[in-house]
């Protein structure tokens, strides 16, 4: 008899949604079988059985958010119901006889029907009868509650807290009503989807990182020319390399030369990553995601280009796997296609750096005594100051600028 718990499927995961049960109570389970699909903050993953046996219990219904480590199923031997998940009742004997009553069958009898119930409506929320009644009487949304009782049971204290929390915003609303508005329905309520929730949380964390910005102006005439050359040669293969692909490649090569920039602050140490994995910020309808091009320093431009197209497509379709979004060591965010001249990007912890790339635009410069027009692009580096100092970061940015201005070096 063993419990299957919600696994930690990614570094940032705190809870997972049991999206779908693939094994039902009574089904024979072989080690490695997929019991259920778990939807995390990043992707949908399989929950595999680590033991063989028979699925005795589904402890949560589909659609339930489950914290990491909380049991979701019980796998046992023989038919379900032939044994208890755990022996809560110690066999009475003389030695511990002073307290057999406390671990009495009460809890077992009273509590087992809820988690056992396979129906999605029954047992979705573990709660005391009183809490259930109070929630109903006060119109409390059970999904919004976190139980603080034993095993997460929702008790009266949780409902009381929810009731007072509910009444507080009402006060705030009435305050807000006093400010002049042009009419009702001033705002539409858009509930946060999972990506947006994670983005909000991660960027809030990111704000806590002591950081600074360095900006450089890059002459990209040669880069643009090189890209045109390269693409003309690739037309027949149906491959097109973007300016951003060049930048990714250039960043990767520069990171290889500057291992101190390919790092993470780690509390009492600094992690220098052996691989150069560049994350690329991709806007989707659902929100911002950052798929990762692994080993970008050793991949060819066309390989990077092909991979980025595939990753961006998967991102827009919501099909990115966890692997495709994990392991980044540095990120690139490019708003050039929107005509943004320059901007600063927020760090994507634990990465120590992110490069914000603006649009290339023509500028008049004096070159070799002649006034001429060149394409310029502003790049801004955001740096985790705990991992890197200003001079270190400046050296990185200087070398990045040089390689972008002499882009043939990208190819060697």
């Amino acid at each position: 008899m063993s419990e299957v718990t919600m696994p930690r499927l990614s570094d940032t995961m705190e809870e997972g949604e049991l999206a779908r049960w693939l094994k039902q109570v009574g089904d024979v389970v072989v080690k490695g079988d997929v019991l259920a699909e778990i939807e995390t903050d990043k992707a949908t993953m399989d929950l595999e059985a680590f033991e063989s046996g028979v699925l005795h219990e589904q402890l949560v219904s589909e659609g339930t958010m489950v914290p990491i480590g909380q049991p979701v199923a019980v796998i046992g031997q023989g038919k379900p119901g032939t044994a208890k998940p755990e022996a809560k009742v110690p066999a009475p004997d003389v030695a511990d006889s002073a307290e057999p009553e406390s671990d009495a069958p009460t809890s077992e009898v009273a509590e087992s029907p809820e988690p056992v119930a396979p129906s999605p409506t029954v047992g979705k929320h573990r709660m005391s009868p009183l809490a259930r009644k109070l929630a109903h009487d006060n119109g409390i949304d059970l999904d919004s509650l976190t139980g603080t009782g034993p095993d997460g049971r929702i008790v009266r204290a949780d409902i009381d807290a929810a009731i007072s929390a509910k009444s507080e915003p009402e006060v705030a609303t009435s305050e807000a009503d006093k400010t002049p508005t042009s009419g009702g329905d001033e705002a539409e309520l858009i509930p946060l989807n999972k990506i947006r929730k994670v983005t909000a949380r991660r960027l809030t964390e990111s704000q806590e990182v002591p950081h600074f910005f360095l900006t450089n102006m890059v002459d990209v005439d040669r880069l643009i020319a090189l890209r045109a050359d390269v693409n003309s040669g690739l037309t027949e293969q149906g491959i097109k390399v973007s300016l951003n692909d060049f930048i990714v490649k250039a960043v990767a090569i520069t990171l290889r030369q500057h291992p101190e920039a390919n790092a993470s602050y780690n509390g009492d140490s600094i992690l220098r990553h052996r691989r150069v994995n560049v994350g690329i910020a991709v806007a989707t309808d659902a929100g911002l995601v950052v798929p990762v091009v692994n080993d970008a320093d050793v991949k060819s431009l066309s390989a990077i280009g092909t991979e980025v197209v595939a990753l961006a497509g998967a991102a827009r379709d919501g099909n990115l796997t966890l692997d495709q979004m994990s392991g980044g060591t540095f990120s690139v965010s490019n708003l050039g296609m929107f005509g943004i001249d320059e901007f600063t990007a927020m760090l994507n912890p634990p990465e120590a750096g992110i490069l914000a790339v603006g649009a290339a635009s023509p500028e008049i410069v004096l070159r070799d005594g002649e006034v001429t027009e060149v394409q310029k692009m502003k790049i801004t580096l955001t740096v985790d100051h705990r991992a890197m100092d200003g001079a270190t970061a400046a050296a990185f940015l200087r070398d990045l600028k040089e390689i972008l201005q002499q882009p043939l070096r990208i190819l060697v």
Binding site: P92, D93, V94, S97, A98, E99, P100, E101, S102, A104, P105, T106, S107, A110, E111, S128, P129, L130, A131, R132, K133, T148, G149, P150, R153, V155, R156, A157, D158
Partner: protein, 337 residues
């Protein structure tokens, strides 16, 4: 009447029983006492002390060691109109007479279509803790509380001993009257004059708002002790004394839990199939929507009670056990003062 003074007096549970038997013997000549060693020896626990001198051997009858015989004799006498009060030396020996009690006393009235009544009382002490070993230390009142046709009373104070024994003797049904060895020397205030309890009524002996402890008989002493202990910590504990195990006053129990939303049952008997199980089921049926935590039970270890003092003590439920379970129940509901 011995209670000539109007003022309440502080007397022992034993004395309250003795005085009540005397009062009822005086009041009604149909009342008589029957049992082992209750006359010349004055009773194994001296409940009948002095009575044979004043009422004679026809009304205080010493019997051979034959529980089945003298219980059967008393049933017959009751059927013919007398009001016997049987003393069985301890609850444990009532098992020898259980066929008479369960198959005859309890059923006569119904099986003969109401033609006969069996107005009798069977008194005996239950309980352990006196190093009387497993076969002499039991709390089997639940066996009798299970049987329709019987009434089962369990007073926890001298005052209740008086009012409930009076009510039992005057009731027309067979009444099992549960005493407890550990209560006989308990002192308490007993009102003067005639006191007749209402059979089938529990009592809220201490009002509270945060948690209900339900108990009866000797368990009440512990229940009140623990309630006071929590009171000092700012937890308001209500204590319900069942008083009557059959009929059971379910409404008083549920009303209390509807108020407090938490309940712990404390009993001297074994946990399985016990009084606590019945109370717990009653609460889940009558106060389900008011519960904020499962009803917990504190009871004796499920072992034949050991003779050895340390083991006997370990096997019996104590204040510390009750206290811990009360605390766990409060914690389970995030109780804060």
């Amino acid at each position: 009447m011995t209670d000539s003074t109007p003022e309440p007096r502080v007397i022992t549970y034993r004395q309250a029983l003795n005085e009540t038997l005397r009062a009822e013997l005086e009041r009604d000549e149909d009342v008589f006492l029957i049992g082992e060693e209750i006359g010349i020896f004055q009773g194994s626990y001296k409940i009948t002390a002095g009575l044979i001198e004043d009422f004679g051997p026809k009304r205080v009858i010493d019997t051979p060691i034959s529980e089945e015989g003298f219980v059967g004799a008393a049933i017959g006498a009751a059927m013919l109109g007398l009001r016997p009060v049987v003393e069985i030396m301890t609850l444990n020996f009532s098992l020898i007479a259980i066929d008479q009690i369960v198959n005859h006393a309890a059923k006569m009235h119904a099986m003969f279509g109401g033609q006969v009544k069996v107005p009798m009382v069977i008194r005996f002490p239950g309980g352990g803790g006196q190093q009387l070993a497993a076969s002499h230390s039991q709390n089997l009142e639940v066996w009798y509380a299970h049987i329709p046709g019987l009434k089962v009373l369990a007073p926890s104070t001298p005052a209740e001993a008086k009012s409930m024994l009076t009510a039992a003797i005057r009731d027309d049904d067979p009444v099992i009257f549960l005493e407890n060895l550990a209560l006989y020397n308990m002192k308490g205030e007993v009102p003067a004059g005639e006191q007749v309890a209402e059979i089938g009524k529990a009592a809220v002996v201490k009002a509270g708002t945060d948690l209900t402890i339900v108990s009866y008989s000797r368990g009440m002493v512990t229940a009140l002790e623990v309630a006071d202990e929590f009171e000092q910590q700012g937890v308001s504990v209500e204590v319900v004394d069942l008083r009557s195990l059959r009929p059971l006053d379910r409404e008083t129990i549920c009303a209390s839990v509807r108020k407090t939303s938490r309940a712990v049952v404390f009993e001297d008997d074994m946990l399985s199939y016990g009084i606590g199980a019945e109370i717990s089921a009653t609460i889940s049926e009558g106060a389900f929507d008011y519960l904020d935590a499962p009803v917990r039970r504190v009871a004796a270890a499920e072992v034949p009670l050991p003779y050895s003092k340390p083991l006997e003590t370990a096997a019996m439920p104590h204040a510390a056990d009750l206290s811990r379970v009360v605390r766990e129940t409060l914690d389970a509901t995030q109780f804060t003062k």
